[in-house]
Amino acid sequence: MNNFKIALMAMVSLTFFSCDNEDDNDSSLSGTGEISVTFDNGYDGNDLILDVANVANENGEALTVSRFSYIVSNFSLIDTDGNEYVYPKDDSYFIINQEEDLEDVTLADIPAGEYTTLKFGIGVDDEKYQEGGEVQEEFWELAEANNLTWSWTAGYKYINYEGTFTSETITEETNYKIHLGRLGDQVNYEEVILELPTNVTVSDEMDSNIHLEIDASKILTAVTSLLLSEDAILMTNAEKAPLVAENASEMFVVDHVHNGSGH
């Protein structure tokens, strides 16, 4: 029995020894890290699946979405001290496209720290637009390839949201097209500010992910109800375009933050 007790004590002490030296994570964050933002497109709580009918929205209209793409831009992060880190503007334009499975925005070289808030815009701001075509040729071509442009003078489509719908009065599947962009001097660019449920942390050793849930149904319902049965084509309607922009700015919710492992 004595042998046994000695063995037991030896083993217990060994365990403590071997496990004690693992606390090397002094919480001073240094260097830079990567933050990815996932735009997970959904529709009223469900996954958004193109060409599959969704349940009727609050306006009593049932949409089958065939195309959903948009431009997100001008990312910035606010840290726990209230300082804002603005991601370099020239690199801060991205395309999300459900048809092509483009859903991730990667922000590289973010200064180490803990951030409480994510900010970005939907579409292309006036300043960028005024730079002219030559400066932004590369992004213009990318946008063009994703059906997010009109002619250069008319500019970018910030959102391209198309499909068919039915309503109480319109029982045949009817096409709808919502293309949001600037209309002359009306910029229609909207800023989104999302407070994170958990701070996102980055450093040399940690890349992290912010996972957003997007509710496409909000484009017609969030702030102002827009009836497709009244206007199924919303492109150059200067009265409703700002309402679409405002609604769309409400479609982003943070589902969760994943610290330390990318996604």
Binding site: M1, F4, V12, N25, D47, P197, T201, N259, G260
Partner: protein
């Protein structure tokens, strides 16, 4: 005979303990290696460890208990199968991933003295999950071993004295769960079950209490245990876990050598929120309440047990994870 058995006990315990300290040291040294080879792991020990910490405290027994629910000493082998499903995605209609957690464990309750007994579990895990696109992922390997020491607060009457009075037992104890099962951060990405691991990667402390009483061939046993979990090397910290269970049983003696004991029970588990780099991880808290039905058949000092547990209610990981069932078979030698 008794003496042989005691020597045998001692040897087994020594081997288990030495092995566990060796493997513990080894696991610490090679965790990078595990990571780089993308080995998938998880570790569920006992029945209960599923998701919040499928792995972690699993080895400690969860609501399945460290023992059989009967108050006895034994060494044996137990197989546990747990079927879960978890959402692959963040949406209400996201598809399910089917998960099967299998554990084979060497387990035992070894008396060290009249008052002290040691409980150890050494698990081997082999898990698989089927993703919505029908691809399968498999992980297997050693799980997290646990060693607990229990003290009999009440004096135990020798078995040979058949009492017609109510006999009580009360055991309090504690122990450790070693990070011998591999924990792979890669398995823990996205919104899927963070517990698809062989181990939780951390040294955990377990507190346990067993109380029961028997009257003639009737008995009731209860158990409580609490696992205090620590942060692992990948800065992931599974939430603490509290388990309880109540069993009632009656033994029928079919002959001098054969007895059958049906057991009915209720059990529950509570899981605290996981943390990563000290930040809470969304959708990792949970609780589950289970019903249990089992049958132990003994022949001389061999016993064969069949256990099934079904959830009565559950709220795991914001309902993104669901237990479907647990079943277990064990073959023990009692002493």
């Amino acid at each position: 005979m008794m003496k042989d058995l005691k020597n045998f006990n001692k040897k087994v315990i020594l081997i288990v303990l030495l092995l566990s300290s060796f493997l513990n040291a080894k696991a610490n040294d090679t965790s990078n290696l595990y990571k780089s080879c993308c080995e998938k792991h998880s570790n569920i020990f006992d029945f209960d460890e599923e998701f919040c910490d499928t792995c972690g405290c699993g080895s400690s027994g969860g609501s399945m208990g460290y023992g059989t629910g009967l108050n006895n000493n034994f060494i044996g082998v137990r197989y546990i199968r747990q079927q879960y499903r978890s959402r692959d995605g963040i949406f209400n209609d996201s598809p399910w991933i089917q998960e099967n957690f299998n554990t084979i464990q060497a387990w035992g309750n070894f008396p060290v003295s009249d008052r002290i007994l040691i409980n150890t579990i050494v698990p081997f895990q082999f898990h698989n999950r089927v993703l919505p696109d029908n691809t399968e992922e498999n992980i297997s390997g050693l799980g997290d071993m646990s060693v607990l020491v229990f003290y009999n607060v009440l004096k135990i009457k020798p078995d040979s004295i058949v009492s017609i009075k109510v006999e009580h037992y009360l055991q309090i104890g504690g122990g450790i769960k070693l990070p011998t099962g591999a924990y792979d951060q890669e398995n823990n990405e996205g919104s899927i079950n963070p517990s698809f691991q062989l181990g939780n990667g951390s040294l955990d402390y377990i507190l346990g209490l067993n109380y029961g009483f028997s009257y003639r061939n009737w008995g009731v046993s209860t158990m409580l245990n609490y696992a205090i979990k620590t942060e692992n090397k990948d800065n992931y910290h599974f939430g603490d876990q509290f388990n309880y269970g109540v069993n009632a049983y009656k033994t029928y003696y079919l002959s001098n050598t054969v007895a059958v004991t049906p057991i009915v029970g209720l059990a529950g588990e509570f899981y605290g929120e996981n943390k990563e780099f000290n930040s809470p991880v969304a959708n990792t808290k949970g609780d589950i309440f289970l019903g249990k039905l089992s049958l132990e058949t003994s022949y001389n000092n061999y016993s064969l047990g069949l256990v099934s547990m079904l959830p009565i209610s559950q709220n795991l990981n914001s309902n993104k994870v669901e237990l479907k069932n647990r079943t277990s078979i064990y073959l023990n030698i009692n002493f």
